[in-house]
């Protein structure tokens, strides 16, 4: 029984949230308590499946799951002529890292939502969409099939847009949702077009198979642009970041935290396409693509933080910081890519830079999720996000204040929190690549700290204000949700080496091991 469950973990990973999503409206008819119980159960089982799968991958290497095959490992059926014709989930260490992020955040966010959304109407649809979004993200990071990737991208985009617009309010939320939906759809169509171009040439949709056959002709270059640009846009990199502030600000806070995770799934897609699908050492000019990511990253980091500083709306401010932090990830991985052809430099600092970039993905999901949740907690009690009107909340909301401090110190890269651990890896390695970029990264960190000190001061410091006299601490489920993320922020800050050795280093190896990814499906090297 347990063995067979373990065997089907990759399918369960997507099946559980999908099933929960469509069961929720039914449970909702039986009453709010039944629905809440189902929501908690669904979130817990999803996280459990995700963490168990990730543990299997980190312990035993890539996990394959072939849908509809007699045995889940039989990637190539006997009578198919050497082509994997079925949909295959292929979870390597990089995918497993993303699964861990989605599993932890979705659990924390669902718990938080239970209290934060308790006074709202239309909860059936809200939780259905939430689980669909989780299913989409988990599917994106575990699938080994191009078209399947498109489908999960669309599921997460549509569910995300619907959730952004869910609380119509004065129409602003719908405006934010519409913007997100429009950009996501155009982006997804571009991805689909690219998949068509690749399929027309190579008669395959399996990522490993297409990668093994890729000839890098003119059409493939067009497909690369059609794939890379929308995914770079969806992860919120400058100069295609314009949707992030609007969308992140208008969404309910718990959803914003989940949208951060969804953006990072797009970032995963971008890396998968650059490294696995198009990463052929011999014919490619690595430095060009590396520098492309480095410049994108440096621009995002700097522009993001400078746009964040003057913001008055706390969530808009945090959204610009999200753009800025995405820059660090691109910078780290970009440096690794730029020196890829030079084995000495790669071993000396290239891999460290990539490890820093990947470590920053998981760290960012945790502390930025935490920050958005604290902003939501403040909004939940005070009804405003305007920094000029907030103040003196430290007396009434001590837990929220502590969680905000943890998140703010982590994003600014102050030890002993997790942001410091990954940023240190990035500083060290980027300095050896280009001192200027390392100094730029440090300046961005200092500006981030300054910005969050200001936010902290205007939200929590000062005497208690008369208009917030009735403000109390938020309910326990919201504190529990924030506590899960805060616990990770502290843990990964105290023992970063344990995380780097067990999760990040395998993920870096999986990222650069193109032959291994292909061999897992097609066999042999």
């Amino acid at each position: 029984m347990m063995d067979s469950l373990a065997l089907h973990l990759p399918a369960l990973l997507v099946a559980i949230p999908l099933f929960t999503a469509f069961l929720i409206p039914l449970a909702g008819r039986a009453g709010g308590t039944v629905r809440s119980a189902l929501v908690i159960l669904g979130a817990a089982l999803t996280s459990l499946a995700g963490l168990a799968l990730a543990a299997r991958v980190f312990a035993g290497g890539t996990v394959l799951y072939v849908f509809g095959a007699a045995a889940p490992h039989a990637a190539i059926p006997m009578d198919s002529g050497g082509i994997p014709i079925r949909i295959i989930f292929q979870v390597d260490a990089l995918g497993a890292l993303m699964v861990v992020i989605a599993a932890l955040s979705s659990l924390a966010i669902t718990l938080y939502s239970l209290a934060a959304e308790s006074r709202q109407s239309g909860k059936d649809g809200f939780y259905s969409m939430l689980f669909l979004l989780v299913a989409g993200v988990l599917g994106m990071v575990s699938t080994g099939d191009l078209f399947n990737f498109f489908v999960f991208l669309e599921i997460s985009s549509l569910a995300g847009a619907a959730l952004v617009a869910y609380r119509i309010d004065q129409g602003e939320a719908v405006e934010g949702g519409l913007k997100y939906a429009l950009l996501s759809t155009v982006g997804a169509l571009s991805v689909l077009m690219a998949i068509g171009i690749l399929f027309a040439q190579y008669n395959a949709l399996n990522i490993a198979t297409v990668a093994s056959r890729l000839r890098f002709g003119a059409l493939d270059m067009i497909a690369l642009v059609l794939l890379a640009v929308p995914l770079a846009m969806k992860c919120g990199a400058v100069p295609m970041h314009f949707w992030t502030p609007d969308t992140y600000t208008t969404a309910p806070s718990s959803i914003t935290a989940l949208l951060v995770v969804s953006s990072q799934a797009s970032l995963y897609g971008l890396f998968r396409i650059l490294f696995t699908l198009y990463g052929d050492l011999l014919r490619f000019n690595w430095a060009v693509f590396g520098w492309f990511l480095v410049i994108l990253g440096a621009l995002s980091a700097f522009v993001g933080v400078t746009m964040a500083i003057p913001q008055k709306d706390v969530k808009r401010l945090m959204a610009y910081h999200a753009v800025s932090q995405t820059g660090y990830m691109l910078l780290g991985v970009g440096v690794g890519l730029a020196v890829f052809a030079d084995a000495g430099a790669l071993a000396a600092y290239g891999k460290t830079a990539m490890a820093g970039g990947l470590f920053h993905i998981i760290n960012h999901a945790m502390y930025k999720g935490l920050l958005f949740l604290t902003a939501g907690a403040v909004f939940y009690r005070t009804g405003t996000r305007n920094l000029n009107r907030l103040g003196g909340l430290g007396h009434a909301m001590p837990w929220t204040m502590v969680f905000f401090m943890i998140g703010a110190l982590a994003i600014a890269g102050i030890p002993p929190f997790n942001g410091f651990a990954s940023k240190l890896l990035i500083y060290e390695s980027v300095f050896r690549f280009s001192p200027f970029l390392a100094i730029l990264a440090m300046v961005v960190s200092i500006l981030t700290l300054a910005s969050f000190v200001k936010v902290f001061h205007s939200m929590f410091m000062g005497p208690p204000r008369a208009e917030f006299a009735g403000v109390r601490e938020v309910p326990a489920p919201m504190i529990a949700g924030m506590a899960i993320l805060a616990a990770f922020v502290i843990l990964a800050g105290l023992v970063p080496q344990a995380f780097v050795d067990r999760m990040i280093a395998p993920a870096v190896n999986a990222l650069v091991d193109r032959a291994g990814y292909i061999a897992a499906i097609l066999g042999g090297h």
Partner: protein
């Protein structure tokens, strides 16, 4: 020559549809018209998928009364069906967004939908 031209026709149509769609998305101010452009773009991509799946003298994979068992694997046709379903969901959702925006803002002109100031 004629055959080649005929075979190229679907791809030319795709190009024309894509241009029309991009034009609508970039230059129209009316939200509904922009969404029509998006719908056109979906159709263009779907047509592209079906067009690349065409095999001359191919046998449809329907086993009843089939002249032979060497058949076309209908992958792109399956993809197109999926993409159409996704497209319907997208259009429905975005049109409902447009409806809400019209109710709240009293206009569907994108120049006036700027509460979030870009």
């Amino acid at each position: 020559m004629i055959t080649r031209l005929l075979l190229a026709m679907p791809f030319l149509t795709v190009a024309v549809l894509l241009l029309l769609a991009l034009g609508a998305l970039l230059f129209k101010r009316n939200l509904i018209k922009m969404l029509m452009g998006l719908s056109l773009m979906e159709s263009a991509v779907n047509l592209f998928l079906v067009a690349i799946g065409y095999r001359q003298d191919g046998i449809a994979p329907i086993f009843t009364n089939a002249p032979q068992t060497l058949m076309v694997l209908p992958t792109v046709q399956a993809l197109t069906l999926t993409a159409i379903v996704i497209g319907v969901a997208t259009s429905a959702m975005m049109l409902s967004f447009a409806m809400v925006i019209y109710k709240k803002y009293g206009t569907v002109d994108v120049r006036n939908i700027r509460k979030l100031n870009g």
